[in-house]
């Protein structure tokens, strides 16, 4: 009996090995070839010489944010405050929030300049509408670093940028490999009309390729309730769903919950470094649930601050600064998930655990 099992095992293992060798040998090269970065058209290796902006510390930093509407953005600004508090050269950080309004953001920047801030960080709500204000700031001699969106002008000091297209591509590519290149997929998108959502979906669809059938696409704003409602509709509408491409946030968690509630098998669902999702992933790992989390760091704000501070110190800095999209996988999931913290924590953080714990009231 033992011998038999052993032999069968051996056969199975060698068959699997052979199959995987064969498949890797014959896989078309495009299968896992990374796409070229979808950088803004004007992207360059240009540097900004900040000798003209050099100023003696302490500095007051102005930040024009356009929304605190979701937990990702909230943490992005907590990271910024945390990092700024540790830098003795920074006297004060003044953060404004325009709450989704372009006119308010323009007047916010105006106010910050009038206040006499030494440097400016901007997350533009509209890359076009905010551009003149950024130009004005630079003309006023205030170094201005853009992050979290693009800007429709060359007149800025530095831009910190993450490749959302690649974010989508990484998730889509993983899902395609998981499904063996074919199957029925439903797509949960972010907020309609935002470049983040648009680029992620484009990257994912490109990676999924023609072999995969896209049954339906639905914007659900990265939100749990909208994601769950959309997923429940998908489940009722399409009896055969082989995988879910979700842009992440709480939508991925909602998709898993919807599958569980409907008594459907846990097909692969892509995610992101959102703790609520990571906890659900960890809890269902043993039931055969597989996922991946491309991850855009919340500390991109800190990278922007570092650029600005280097500029105020008179250094020469990168005009275009790319931050990496990392991957949360089955293997490193344990390093990222925070079981005793609430759902709204983002895993890829540069704040220490004590700060996270106090901020989010983690229980352990």
């Amino acid at each position: 009996m033992g011998m038999r099992t052993n032999n069968t095992m051996k056969a199975a293992v060698s068959a699997a090995l052979f199959a995987s060798l064969m498949s890797s040998a014959f896989a078309p090269p495009a299968f896992s070839q990374e796409p070229a970065p979808m950088r803004p058209a004007k992207w360059s290796d240009e540097k900004t010489d900040c000798s003209a902006f050099k100023k003696e510390p302490p500095w007051t930093i102005g930040v024009s944010n356009y929304s605190l509407g979701n937990s990702f953005r909230v943490q992005m600004f907590e990271e910024l405050k945390f990092a700024a508090a540790k830098d003795s050269r920074i006297k004060e950080v003044v953060i404004t929030n325009s709450d989704g309004s372009v006119p308010k953001q323009l007047s916010d920047i105006e106010d910050l300049l009038t206040r006499g801030v030494d440097g400016l960080l901007v997350t533009p709500l509209s890359s076009e509408a905010v551009a003149p204000s950024v130009e004005e700031a630079v003309d006023d001699g205030v170094p201005t670093v853009i992050f979290n969106n693009e800007i429709a002008t060359d007149k800025f000091t530095s831009i910190v940028w993450a490749d959302e297209y690649r974010f989508g591509w990484l998730g889509g590519n993983w899902l395609k490999e998981k499904l063996g290149g074919k199957g029925n997929v439903v797509v949960l998108e972010g907020m309609a009309g935002t470049s983040t959502s648009d680029l992620r979906t484009r990257g994912a669809l490109e990676a999924l390729g023609d072999g995969v059938t896209i049954l339906a696409r639905q914007p659900a704003d990265w939100a749990y309730d909208k994601g769950k409602a959309a997923m429940q509709d998908f489940i009722s509408a399409y009896p055969e769903i082989d995988g879910v491409y979700s842009q992440g946030g709480a939508m991925s968690q909602a998709a898993i919950d919807a599958l569980t509630t409907a008594g459907k098998p846990l097909v692969p669902v892509t995610g992101e470094g959102y703790n609520g999702f990571l906890k659900t992933w960890a809890a269902n790992k043993d039931k055969g649930f597989a996922s991946i989390g491309p991850d855009e760091p919340t500390w991109q704000s800190v990278e922007a601050l570092n650029q600005l501070v280097a500029c105020l110190a008179g250094e020469t800095i990168e005009k275009w600064h790319e931050i990496p999209i990392s991957l949360i996988t089955e293997e490193n999931l344990g390093d990222f998930v925070k079981p005793s913290c609430p759902d709204d924590v983002w895993a890829n953080t540069k704040m220490d655990y004590e700060t996270i714990k106090t901020l989010y009231k983690c229980t352990d």
Binding site: L68, G69, N70, S71, R73, V74, Q75, F77, E78, E189, A192, L215, A216, R217, Q218, P219, D221, A223, Y224, D225, K228, A229, A230, Q232, D233, F234, S236, A237, P239, A250, T261, G276, P342, D343, D344, L359, Y360, K361, T363
Partner: protein, 325 residues
């Protein structure tokens, strides 16, 4: 409630027919047409499971709409109900922290918060004479700001299993949240048609000066209507957060306009004095069915928005032009 015509002595089928051509009856025809179209377009849409899912999604909006109908019947509007829902979700999440320990006091606190918001709305509308549109929009802003302050932008804590069970669970296949909504609709309908408060409310909405002259305590009734809407919103908030399991600053988004739309589709006149709680609930179900069906069709998002907008506009025009001449 649809005002029953004096010629009520006609036969039962005639009565039914009459009902369907009243403002609050027409919505049922709209639902029937939508279901028929959906049944032709898809095999799975008109199934018990799916319709129960739709009813589950509609539960919180349905409860908020019951309160909204009361306010609209007085000739007012409540734009703050969505902000109450958001606030309740974050307060419950933070105070409970995922545990049942303070369940009863926290639930009561949430309902009391809703009542207090309603009281505030009612006072500024009835006593200070501020137009409801502006007054309750102000409250909306205050509550939204309060939710930001309470959470520091990021909701903490969590919702315990007990509330999640009410938001997510089923009894004999029926979503508990839907059963709660149905019970609340029955309660609201009773309140409006079978109590002195309800009858006075209808009267003052239809003709405020006549009501005042007849000794109806107009201000008190208006204030009570807003209080009822606030409590409805708080109850809706508890159900909604039981469904999602975590407080969220965007949970209540859209509830104010959706509840007004549902009320109007259900035959409640924005001018006050005429309307129906059951009709409002049917309006909510129609909205939820329509959203789900357009998603079901696999229409692009922009297509969904356009079709949904057009159908809603048509429904409201029909209400205003055909049934209410």
């Amino acid at each position: 409630m649809a005002l029953v015509s004096p010629a009520a002595s006609t036969s039962a089928p005639m009565k039914m027919l009459r009902f369907f051509i009243t403002p609050s009856g027409a919505v049922w025809i709209a639902i029937a047409i939508l279901l028929a179209v959906a049944a032709l377009a898809s095999d799975n849409f008109v199934s018990g499971d799916h319709l129960l899912n739709v009813a589950r999604h509609a539960a919180a909006l349905c409860i908020a709409t019951v309160g909204q109908v009361f306010v609209i019947m007085t000739g007012g509007l409540d734009l703050s109900n969505g902000a109450v829902i958001t606030l309740v979700s974050v307060v419950a999440s933070q105070l409970l922290g995922g545990s049942d320990q303070y369940l009863v006091p926290v639930v009561l606190l949430c309902l009391a918060m809703g009542a207090a918001v309603g009281l505030f709305n009612g006072l500024i509308v009835a006593k200070l004479g501020i137009p409801p549109l502006i007054g309750t929009l102000g409250t909306f802003g205050i509550l939204k700001g309060a939710a930001y302050v309470l959470t520091g932008g990021a909701p903490k804590g969590g919702i315990p299993e007990s509330i999640r069970y009410v938001g997510n669970g089923t009894i004999a296949g029926f979503p508990i949240s839907t059963l709660c909504a149905l019970a609340f609709v029955a309660f609201g309908a009773f309140l409006l048609s079978r109590t002195i408060f309800g009858r006075q409310l209808v009267f003052l909405g239809a003709n405020p000066s006549a009501a005042r002259l007849s000794g109806v305590p107009v201000a008190r009734i208006i204030i009570l209507a807003y209080v009822f809407s606030g409590v409805s919103a708080a109850f809706a908030g508890l159900l909604a957060v039981g469904y999602t399991g975590v407080g969220s600053l965007s949970l209540g988004e859209g509830y104010n306009l959706d509840s007004i739309t549902a009320a109007v589709i259900g035959g409640t006149a924005l001018t006050g004095g005429s309307g129906s709680v059951v009709g409002g609930a049917a309006g909510v179900f129609f909205l939820a069915l329509l959203t789900s069906f357009l998603r079901f069709l696999g229409l692009s998002y922009s297509g969904q928005l356009i079709v949904q907008g057009a159908i809603l506009a048509a429904a409201v025009i029909l209400q205003a032009r055909v049934f209410r001449r």
